[in-house]
Every structure is written in structure tokens, then in C-alpha cells.
Symmetry: C2
Subunit: 260 residues, 2 copies
DNA sequence: CGAGCATTTGACACGTTTCAATCTCTGTGG
DNA sequence: CCACAGAGATTGAAACGTGTCAAATGCTCG
């Protein structure tokens, strides 16, 4: 897999935007991603220079750190996920850290804001992408509030599988996952110890096995039922994709749609 | 307060966008909000016609309903909050319900998508607004995962105060809140019964009183400390606001910035 | 071979839920 | 004008899920 420019990346899977063809004057579209090693800090809570990030490959995590030393992982951005919105006088409120080897496109805030003025489709594209991130957060909120540790963990592992398969790094059988049990705990609002117990139970109940960096589905259907998982909230739903009508082809997916 | 068109609304507080001045061809900008009575369903989970909503006044709630009958309130949109993104083949994933008397601007999806093509600032504006909603959701996720019932409840009441004051319906002393304890529970991931106990404790500890639809701050500083509340995540952070430079005036607020 | 980190397991504590009942208010019809 | 119904709020007691504390195991890398 050769390196892609941001322009090419936005046009290919999983985003598949029509944008970028005739916008030769937008410099940052022709940049290549930057690479980070595991646990490298891509953007620190409090950083002042604003950038927008688009994950090209690998796993990252965005976390909010609390005064008491706890952290909450808001999400684990994967291929095709956007994060960060330009800020002008302050810094980012979240920390972005590499989990595995990651490559990310970094777009500086000011050029981005300038490009928006002349390229309508760019704003629409980003609005859609951010709306998708928001939909993911809303589902996680639901999970954390109304599902048990077991359901919640199953739900998250299914979500990851779904999101990864859009980028081609997951199959029906499973995927590689560089998250530690501690990371999982910080995503799911549990303790590492309880995550451990929960993963054991999921294994004993013959739904998934997650050991040594590898998630293997055993009975995906049973798991989906337990978790109440419906991938509808994960759809990429580009505003500007269909230039013609309201009828838009989506690649072999469910009926539900991503909304706010 | 006379009725405003969407155009006027976007230009005034709390959003204060520069957008709309010379876009006479965008019809929906000159529409008036629509009114709903308490508990009226504005948009149902599963609805097919896509619209974007912008709350002009009053309280609403967006909720995701689970198969088991539970609901999770993702947020309680207030004056200036946007929700919904056009979908093309499916329906909204969330239900939008009026809590108090609400007025909302409703923009049909297709005209909106069309307008985006010709008005760069529109996409940027919406991207910013959605990013703010996302930031609110991220903070709630943090709250729900890492703060106790007491801290979480205090945090939410402070957040509401802050958000309302941007729209002028809250003071340092308190505000009117039409949410029931049951609603609060569905926001905070608690049971109604525990919300009741928690509110009592906040009253006994002399931080806030929330009785018969009225929130009264007793010791806001103590409360802010308990909750670990920092309003940074609530800023409106418009991409397209400052036409000139990176230095943007924000009205008497903290240093932190809203990010994804 | 030992250091350090991730995982695993057990026992116990605690916060929150669940179940059950009572109470208060508000609006409504007799 | 009072009785009543229904929704929301309040309180108590017991059950349960998850956190906390403590310790051992396994793995990887120098």
C-alpha cells in the first residue's frame, strides 16, 4: 500500500467523498500523513497551535484528563476518523496519543479555515465527518449509562470490528487490537480489573476471545444480541456525496442511518 | 422579543456568526421557528424525512431508545443548539422531544445540502456547531464514567447554567429548569430515586437547591470545585468568525477552548 | 536473570439499583 | 367546594454490580 495524499485518502474508502478533484489551490490536500510510534503524543491537552487530524492508518486515542489523575478515553480514532477543530486562543481540551503505529494527516487550522471560504464541499465534508464522530460518542454514552459491563464490552468490541472492516483491517472472524485492558477500562468506564473479569466471561460464554492483542469472534450473533448492537450509528453519511438526488448508494450496509 | 428569522438568529447571541448577510438566495434562512408544546415529538426515532433542527428557545431532549424500553437522553438542546444531519435512505436514530415550550428552526435536508454547495461559510458554521455538541457529549461521557452521582449531578446543573446564560435565561443565582428527576436520571445514567437522594444531598451540603422547576445556586464555588467543572468545553468556536487573523475575541470566559 | 508492565485471581467494601410504600401537588369532575 | 386521580417526589430496606485492596503470575526486553 503506497502512501496516499490527503486528497486521495478522502476520495477512497472508507470516506469516499467526491471532494477534491478540482481544488488544485488547496495545498494541504496534497500532503502526506505523518507517522507516530506507540504512545507518542500527537497533540497534548493544552496545546496552543490548532490542527485538524485525520487518521490514515493505525490506532490512536483521544482522552480527557481529570484533575484527580484519571483519564477518560473519549474514543479510539481509526482509519478515516477526524478530530480536532481549530481553536484560536486556547489549546485543545483533549490529548491525542498513538496506541499502535499510526499515520495521521495534520491540517493546520488557519489554512483549513481559509480553504473553507472557497470550497463549499470541504465544510460539508467535515461537518459530516464530525457528525459521525458525534454519533459514535452518543452511542458510547448510551452504552455506558444503560448497558452492563458485559453488554458494554461486547458492544465496543463489535463496534471496533465494524469500524475496522470499513478500512479493511477486520474480518467476520476478528481483528488485531492493540488496546490494553487498562485502555479498554478507560474507554468503557470500568476498572482494568473488571474488564479482565468481563473478558473472561465473554470467553466462557463463547462469544469473543480477546487475548494477546487479538479479538476473535466465537459467536457473533449471540454477542450482537447480548449487546443490542445495531451498526446504524456508524454509517458515513456525506452531505455532499450525491450531486444529483436524494438517493445515495451505500456499500452493503444496514438500513439505519447516521445522525447527530 | 419579536420573532426572528433563522438568518437573524444565527447572527445574534449566542451563536453570533458573520454568516448570512449577502446570501439572499438561501430561502430557509428567512423562515421563522416552529413551536411545540411540552412532550410534543419533534422528530421520532425512525423518521424518514431528514431535517436539521436549531433550537430557538425553550428546552428539548434528544434520546436514543433501547430495545428493553430504557431511554438514554443524549442531551437537552437549548437555545442555539443544532441537531440532526440529513440522511438519505434511513431515518433519524434519535428522538427529539419538547420538554418545555420550544421553538425550533427546521431546515429540510435537501435544500440545506444544496445551499452548502454555494455558501462555504454555511458548512463551516455547521461544522463548528456540531463540534460543540460533540464536545458537550464528550464531557458528559467523562462525567458519567469518572464522576460520582453527586459530582455528576452538580456538573450537569452547572453546565446547564452556563449554557443557558449564553442565551440569557440564567443568572449567577440560578435558572428555571423544566426537567423532571426522571429526565435528569436519563441524562446522567442514574435512577430517578438516586437522583432524588443526590439532589437532597446537594441541598444539605448547601451547594444547589433544585425544587419545583427552579435551580438555585447556594454556593457555586464549592459546587464547581466538587464537580471539577471547567466551562472551557462549552465555548462556541466558530471557524469562520474572524475574517482577519487568528486572534478572536471571546466574551469574558475562561482560557480553555472547545475542541472535538 | 531480573525489571517492568500487562494480566489474572480472591476477598471484601461501597455506591447505586431495586422493590415497595407513602406523600405532595395539581387539575378535574361530581 | 370537595373527592379523586395521576404524575412527580420522597423515604426505607435489602440486593447486586462494580470498585478497591492485595498478591501472584506471565511475558518481554535488556
Amino acid at each position: 500500500m503506497a502512501e496516499q495524499t490527503l486528497r486521495q485518502f478522502l476520495q477512497s474508502a472508507p470516506i469516499g467523498s467526491a471532494f477534491g478533484g478540482d481544488d488544485g489551490d488547496v495545498d494541504f490536500l496534497d500532503t502526506l500523513p505523518r507517522f507516530y510510534s506507540p504512545s507518542a503524543v500527537i497533540s497534548r491537552q493544552g496545546d496552543t497551535n490548532s490542527r485538524i487530524f485525520i487518521v490514515a492508518s493505525g490506532w490512536a486515542s483521544i482522552a480527557r484528563h481529570l484533575p484527580n489523575g484519571n483519564r477518560q478515553i473519549i474514543d479510539t480514532p481509526l482509519k478515516g476518523d477526524v478530530l480536532g477543530m481549530p481553536s484560536s486562543d486556547g489549546g485543545s481540551i483533549n490529548s491525542l496519543v498513538a496506541v499502535s503505529e499510526v499515520s495521521v494527516f495534520e491540517v493546520p487550522g488557519l489554512p483549513f479555515a481559509k480553504a473553507l471560504d472557497h470550497h463549499p464541499a470541504l465544510g460539508a465534508l467535515f461537518a459530516s465527518m464530525i457528525a459521525r464522530q458525534h454519533s459514535i460518542a452518543a452511542e458510547r454514552l448510551t452504552s455506558v449509562c444503560r448497558r452492563s459491563a458485559l453488554e458494554r464490552t461486547a458492544h465496543f468490541l463489535l463496534e471496533l470490528g465494524e469500524r475496522l472492516s470499513a478500512g479493511g483491517t477486520s474480518t467476520q472472524l476478528g481483528y488485531d487490537c492493540p488496546l490494553t485492558q487498562h485502555d479498554l477500562a478507560d474507554v468503557l468506564g470500568l476498572t482494568q480489573i473488571h474488564v479482565n473479569r468481563t473478558l473472561r466471561e465473554l470467553r466462557e460464554r463463547e462469544m469473543v476471545s480477546f487475548r494477546s492483542g487479538s479479538v476473535e469472534f466465537i459467536n457473533r450473533q449471540k454477542m450482537t444480541r447480548l449487546a443490542g448492537f445495531d451498526k446504524g450509528y456508524l454509517q458515513y453519511n456525506l452531505l455532499n456525496a450525491p450531486k444529483k438526488s436524494g438517493i445515495q448508494k451505500l456499500p452493503h450496509t444496514s438500513t439505519r442511518q447516521t445522525i447527530l
